[in-house]
Structures are given as C-alpha cells and as structure tokens.
C-alpha cells in the first residue's frame, strides 16, 4: 500500500506521480484493506465453487458414513448429517450451486433492469409512466415476501427460485438507470449525437451507457451478497434447492430437525456469511471509490495523502463531543 501512488486519478493535481494516469483508478480501489480481504475471500470461494468436485473427499450425495458424526471423527472434518453424508464435501460442493447461480441472477437482473430503466428514462412520456408504474408495483413488496410468493406459484425448484430472485432484483436497477439516463439525455453531447442522426439505440449505447456503468456496477456488486442471501433463504424455506442437492440454505433448514447436532447448521451458515461478507466488502469499497463525496474518507484512513477539507476540519472540532 504505497500512499502516493493511490491518489485518486481524477484529482489531476501536479503531484500525481505515475504517468499512466487513467489506469491508476482501479488499483486504488483495491488497495484498501477492506477490498483486499473481500477480494481474497471471494476469489477463494469462486475457486472452490468451480473446482470442488475434483478434490472433495466424498461425493456430496453419498450416504456412506455413519450418521450424525461430530466434526473431526473418522475423517469427516466437519462431521456428517442425519443421512451419513460428509458435511465438508457437501459444504464445498454447495459453493458450486449458490455462487454461480447468484452471479447469473444478478447479471440477468442488471440486464433487465437497465434495459427497462434506460428505455423509460430515454423515451420518457407514456413509456416512462408505464414502465415505472410496473417497477413501483414490484417494489411494493418486501423482497423475500415477493420472492417467496413467486417461487411458490412457479413450484419449488432451484431454477424457479432464481427466477423469483430476478423478479425482485431488477426494479432497483431500473430505477437507478432511469434517473441517471434522465440526467444525461439533456446533455449537449447527447443532443449533438442525436442531431447527427444517431439512432436511439446508438445514442444509448455510445453516449449514455459509458456514463451509467459505474453506479450500476457498484449496485450490482453490493447486490451479489443480497442475491446469495435471498437464494439460500428461499432454499431454507423449501422453495429453492430440493433434496438431495447440497445447497447451504437447505442444509441449514435440515439442521432444524437435529437441534443436538449443532455442526449441521453452523458450517453452511458460516459459508454464507463469509461469501456474502466478501462481496459486500468489495461492493462497499467500490462505492467508496466511485462516490466522490466519500473520497476524503479514504484520504483520512491513510491510503491517500489527505487533502484538508472543510469536513475534515469540522471533524476535528466535533470529535470532542
């Protein structure tokens, strides 16, 4: 963590040392402790998700061990469940179920949400009215409730749970994208493009899209954690992964039948907690980096040479309270 090189690149002061100006921004984000911790944990889990079948000691569904073994006995590192399945193998395989699906569902929500939001913001008038009222409708429910209702109507399965999660996730992207596009479409350079005869599609993609990716990426990064929680929550309710799939939420739910075997529920929850936390750390650091109002904070946290601002000065007096 070298302090000077991490200066935010958009303050183009004379003290920016490295010549590769534009390329400095991303590394600066990743240089905060929070982002590093998050990135390392997330990366580790993603690796586990894709390689687990190659190295776990037992097949996740194999009922080949004594039942309800406590952790550490007979080669079962984390013990076994009520059916004699190795919990460690199931836990690691579970990463391959939850993480890719969550990433996919966030990606799908981003696409649907931004397309709808951008159309509403760009075309305005009745298109805006109709699309945004529909968006409002989906936001009138608390997330888990709506997802539960949708998943139950479609029938319980992991695929339907993903659909349900997409249904509740896209509106936030639509709303953010719409407000961003509304602000951009009146800009002179966008109007200039239109006057040159650009089609609406080209105008959206070439002139507007580059300016909305930042906020949308931050939102998506923060949403990955929520998606994992939602998906495992639905499985916990029995509306997602069906037995014998090794999925963290349903593993916790099966622990409800065996209160004495504390290990059955403990480890899948820790897995969820660490993955979600990792993605939240990353998302939060990204938001910090892309949100100009929080830049002084990073300055004060010692990563960046601190410019003395009004807020910083205020903080000095306020700290005595």
């Amino acid at each position: 963590m070298t302090a000077t090189a991490a200066r935010p690149s958009n303050s183009r002061g004379p003290r920016v040392r490295a010549p590769r100006g534009g390329r400095l921004r991303l590394p600066a984000v990743w240089r905060t402790p929070l982002a590093i911790v998050g990135a390392v944990i997330a990366l580790a889990w993603v690796v586990v998700a894709f390689t687990a079948p190659l190295w776990v000691p037992y097949p996740p569904d194999a009922q080949m061990l004594p039942r309800l073994l406590p952790p550490g006995t007979d080669g079962a590192i984390l013990g076994t469940d009520a059916l004699g399945r190795d919990l460690f193998s199931r836990l690691m395989s579970g990463a391959g179920v939850t993480i890719p699906l969550s990433l996919m569902l966030v990606a799908a929500s981003v696409v649907i949400g931004t397309v709808i939001g951008a159309s509403a913001g760009y075309f305005g008038k009745w298109v805006d009215e109709v699309l945004m009222r529909i968006t409002d409708l989906f936001m009138a429910f608390p997330t888990v409730i709506l997802a539960m209702v949708v998943a139950a109507s479609l029938g319980p399965s992991l695929f339907n749970a993903v659909i349900a999660a997409i249904v509740v996730s896209w509106p936030q992207y639509a709303r953010v994208t719409r407000s961003l596009v509304l602000g951009l479409r009146g800009q002179n350079y966008v109007i200039a493009g239109r006057l040159l005869g650009h089609s609406p599609l080209r105008s959206l993609l070439a002139d507007i899209a580059p300016n909305i990716t930042g906020p949308v990426v931050v939102l998506a990064a923060l949403d990955i954690g929520s998606a994992i929680l939602l998906l495992s929550g639905l499985s916990f309710l029995g509306l997602g992964a069906q037995p014998p799939t090794a999925e963290w939420g349903s593993m916790i739910s099966s622990a409800l039948q065996n209160f004495d075997a504390w290990w059955i529920g403990l480890f899948p929850g820790l897995a969820i907690l660490t993955v979600v936390m990792a993605f939240n750390f990353i998302g939060d650091s990204l938001r910090d980096a892309l949100d100009p109002s929080s830049r002084t904070e990073r300055a004060a946290s010692g990563v960046v040479a601190a410019p003395k601002t009004e807020d910083e000065a205020l903080k000095g007096t306020g700290a005595s309270a």
Partner: protein, 370 residues
C-alpha cells in the same frame, strides 16, 4: 438481504420558505396544498394496493396444472360437488377480468381463501399471526434504531478514524448475516447450551395468554397488571429481537452515519458550535433533530426488510407469527396461505410508508407547505 428499496412516490416538491429548520416548529395548519398532497399520496397508495392484488391474482393463476385442485387439495378435488361449488364461488368459469373482480370482491369481504395447511380461513389464521409478528418487529425497530443512532452518530463524528472503520465493518457484517442461520445458532447456544433465555414460543407453557386487547402479549399483560406474564413474554422476545436487530442495525447505521455527516456540515451546526453550546446539546437538539427526516424514511424501508427477515427467523423459534405461518405455508405449498401473507405484508408495508410520508410532513414544516 435486500435491501433498501425506496418507495418512490410523488413526494411533493418543496417550496422552501426561509426559517431555521430544526428549531422552529409550529402547529400543523390545515392548508389546502397539504390536503391536496395527502389526497394525491393516498391515491397513489390505493393504486399500488390494487396493483399488489393484481400481482397476487396473476401469480395465483400462474399455478401450473389445475388451480382448483391446487387450491382445494387432492382430497376435496376428487369430489365433483366441492369442485363445482368452488368454481362458482370464485367465478372460475368466467373470463379472467371477471375472475379478478370476483377475487377483489372476496378480498374486500376479508376472504383470502382457505389454508390447505391449517384447514382454517387464511384471514382467521392471519388475525392471530399479525400481532405476534408486529410485537417482534416494533421492538426490533426500537432497539436497532437506538443502537444504530449511537453507532452512526459516533462513526460520523469520528469520520475516517479507527472507530469509523470499525463501525463500518460491523454494519457490513451485520448486513451479511443469514438471519435464519443466526436464529438457529443463537437458539442452540443461548437456549440449549446456556439456558439463559426461555425456549420457543411466545410464553412459557404454564402461563395463560393475557386477555386480548392489542394482541401484543407484553402490552396486554401490562394492561392487565400481570408482572410475571409481562416478564415472561419479554424474555421470550429477547432472542428473536436480538437476531433481527443485528441485521437491522447494519442496515440503519450506514444511513444514519451519512445523514449525520450531512447535518454536521451545515451552517446551523457550525453556528451552534460558534455560540459555544455544549457538545451534548448540539448532538441532540441540532444534529439528530436535523437528521431525523432521512432517518425516518430509512426506518420505513428497514421495516420492509424486517418483515422479510421475520419470515425466515420466526420458524426457528416456533414464534406463531406471520413468519412461521409463511414458512409452514411454503413448506406445504399452501398457495392461499402464501398469497395471504404476501398480500398482508404488502399492505402493511405500503401503509407504513404512507404513514412515514405523513410524519415527514409533520416533522418538517417545510415539507408541509409543499
């Protein structure tokens, strides 16, 4: 978990007359712009409520296979008379728009169908479940608001320092907790291992519930002057409230920190400091008062997240509220039950956001004049 979803409503654009905002507070005046605003806001809410019913109706009709069999259960569906009566009652032989109107009519009469899991009308089930959940939710909001206000304010004052970083990590971890897992683990630990909290349910089995006034056991016990019952009911509340609070605190702290930061940078706080007011006085009379509006909005949003949370948490504690009901309904694929919960929670959530908007107008004289 999901999170913060804002209720986008036509919040009246403020015409802002000069005046010192946090200190000057006058009685509400019944001006016609206010009335107009209320009516507009009420109109939006009613439209959204209608929309909510359309969503649940559409989803009910999405059921693959035979909706009659799905709603009646295997046994009843084999009896042609029952099926005919059901089809007639819900107008299933009519076109969809007519069916929707029938559905709406039944809804207005409080008919949410009959639960497959319990065999009772969904309305009857929900009537006992709602107060149980509200008791948890209200207490959680109070507890987490207090904790989050302290954490958020301290973090804002110590901006960029170690305390701020610690609070940031704590709230991020709080947001990352799978509440249903935390419920299970804390139940195991605090009840099965340590025995410091009473077990599941709302009351110890030997006690009789208080006469129903509000449906909130703690309040009803107090009204009844029953100290033992009150303590027992409160003890049963601690664990669910603790679990849900951790998540809610994570959600609220960040927003409160931001709101307080904004107020700290304002001229009137600087003026208060310049006058030499005591730091405590500045925090309570100026900073928190100024930050109360955004905080209020966030509390409305947090309440939605909280209702989501209870669905996942209550079943672990066998708390006979909306959450356990939803859990059992989901487990048994009891569609009328699930739809009932969705509808009721949607209504509660919308109603709450409506109230928050009204409070907004009451707390801030500038908003009222919009």
């Amino acid at each position: 978990m999901t999170l913060p979803r804002t209720q986008k409503t036509s919040r009246a654009p403020g015409e802002r007359p000069a005046g010192d905002p946090p200190a000057g507070r006058s009685r509400p005046r019944r001006t016609s712009p206010l009335l107009g605003y209320l009516l507009r806001r009420l109109g939006t809410s009613v439209l959204l409520l209608l929309g909510v019913t359309i969503v649940t109706f559409a989803l009910t009709n999405l059921v693959p296979g035979n909706p009659v069999a799905a709603a009646l259960g295997e046994g009843a569906a084999s009896n042609p008379e029952t099926v005919a009566a059901y089809v007639k009652r819900y107008g299933l032989d009519q076109p969809l728009p007519v069916q929707y109107l029938t559905y709406l009519g039944n809804l207005l009469q409080g008919d949410l169908g009959r639960s497959l899991a319990t065999g009772r009308p969904v309305t009857t089930d929900l009537a006992t479940a709602i107060p149980a959940t509200l008791e948890i939710a209200v207490l959680t909001i109070i507890v987490s608001l207090l904790v989050a206000t302290v954490l958020g304010t301290v973090a804002a004052y110590r901006r960029g320092m170690v305390t701020d970083q610690v609070v940031r990590v704590v709230s991020l971890v709080g947001l990352s907790l799978p509440t249903f897992w935390l419920a299970l683990v804390s139940f195991n630990f605090f009840f099965l291992q340590l025995r410091v909290v009473p077990g599941s349910g709302r009351l110890t089995a030997t006690l009789t519930p208080p006469p129903t006034v509000t449906g909130l056991f703690t309040v009803d016990f107090l009204l009844n002057g029953d100290g033992v019952g009150f303590v027992d009911a409160l003890a049963h509340l601690t664990l669910p409230v603790f679990v849900l609070s951790l998540f809610t605190v994570g959600l609220l702290t960040r927003f409160i920190r931001t709101s307080v930061l904004e107020v700290l940078g304002s001229d009137y706080v600087r003026a208060a400091r310049a006058k030499g007011l005591s730091p405590m006085r500045i925090v309570f009379d100026y900073v928190l008062r100024g930050a109360s509006l955004p905080i209020l909005t966030i509390v409305g949003i947090a309440f939605g997240a909280l209702l989501s949370g209870t669905v996942l948490v209550e079943s672990v504690f066998a708390w006979p509220g909306l959450g356990t009901y939803a859990y059992n309904a989901a487990r048994n694929l009891d569609l009328p039950g699930i739809m009932g919960v969705g509808l009721v929670v949607g209504f509660i959530y919308l109603g709450l956001n409506f109230i928050v908007d009204l409070l907004y107008g009451l707390l801030d004289p500038r908003v009222r004049l919009a």
